[in-house]
Symmetry: D2
Subunit: 136 residues, 4 copies
């Protein structure tokens, strides 16, 4: 995870204070919410949406997620969430990094593997590959 990829998309967000736990930092699970929301906004930017996919019977699901926690975010902190994508057969790998704002410290680094179900069956991923063609 060491080389910085060429990101295809980025989204700024602010920590919502309820996302901070009793340790005074954003709870570890919440970063997966940030990452998912970033992927879904990326889909929108690419001209599709999670809602559209559901209507067409397409279900992107997670197979694997590796995350490193590098620098915690606290109450009211701002961040930018960046995303690159590549395809490996039926799998789409999202390289997702979050940085604090304004100082750009690395917050988390994640690799997220997504496959695509269609009416419950694993697909070869053509449905997503088309939508993401110019970012792959």
């Amino acid at each position: 995870m060491s080389k910085i990829p060429e990101y295809a998309f980025e989204l700024t967000m602010r920590v919502r204070d309820y996302e901070v736990d009793s340790q005074g930092i954003v709870n570890n699970a919440v970063y997966l919410h940030y990452l998912e929301h970033t992927r879904h906004e990326f889909c929108r930017m690419a001209g599709t949406s999670f809602r559209d996919m559901q209507r067409r019977g397409i279900d992107p699901v997670l197979r694997k997620l590796d995350i490193e926690y590098l620098h915690p975010l606290g109450l009211g902190a701002d961040m930018v969430s960046k995303l690159a994508i590549r395809r490996e057969g039926a799998r789409f790998i999202f390289i997702q990094d979050i940085y604090s704002l304004p100082d750009m410290l690395p917050v988390v680094r994640a690799n997220v593997t997504v496959v695509c179900l269609e009416n419950g069956h694993l697909t070869r991923g053509e449905c997503l590959a088309e939508a993401f063609a110019k970012y792959l």
Copy 2:
């Protein structure tokens, strides 16, 4: 909300530490999760389940919720969540109180109004009334 009702169901739960926010107490929204989970477990006890209802096209939805926050729960605290139910026409009113364990301090008191949709349309509630007959 002052008289203690005759409860039809109770459920003990323990605070999960991620539910506690930076103030060191369970976040206000989390109590709605506790209340919902209590209602759903009550349905199970009554012989139906949220999943079964969804399969049959029945959608119980919230119309109104009043909650008083009386005594906060902290890390690792135990509680008992109690529920009574009454029907007012198409509406089901859940009287839901949570108490800390073992000292039985009142934590929250809530009145929750639920109506029942069937394939998207408001019903007269017969679907739920049948399931809950002996608790009304």
Copy 3:
């Protein structure tokens, strides 16, 4: 809750897809997160913040919340969350309404009662009254 108040603050937000439950609509508890986030952003606009308050030993806590669910939000929906505030002795009443965008349908209407603790003890609310002076 029928008269529309003069709002002091508003915040636009988009539903994050993980906030939508198996019924295809935003889960009832999530609206309390939206309402809290709106109050905290209002504090910022008023020149203070939840983090600053915590540092000074000031803890705003909820006493009571009444919410009506009027029109559900679904995947990817946009909303505007509006807030008015008034003081009643030691209590601050937030009148909080959320509307769907762009059609401005009422989504939820809530009254939220907040009191202010200082080092664990109930205050007369002077700490918040000062910050909110021009909005009361």
Copy 4:
């Protein structure tokens, strides 16, 4: 992650229906909540608790988490969450697997790396090693 470890602890849980998202399965982030809750209950069993640690200025924090999603859980599903632990210098590695009940299908497999801060500084982990001595 292929060999089944000798687990030191296990916890049964039931999916709470609000944890299920619009795809009809438990949202990916929620499994991190299950894993955290399992670790904290393991601490209790081992004679300490997250609350006690916080009081003593000890802060266990996540450094890394790898998770494979194998079989999704749906509404009302039951599970058992199992945990093994080993120490690598200052790092504690939790091997955490969740299985569906009653059929014992593998749901997620995770490796979670935790380090221990004491008053904000990284420790050599003696604080936790003592508590977990007989499970390492």
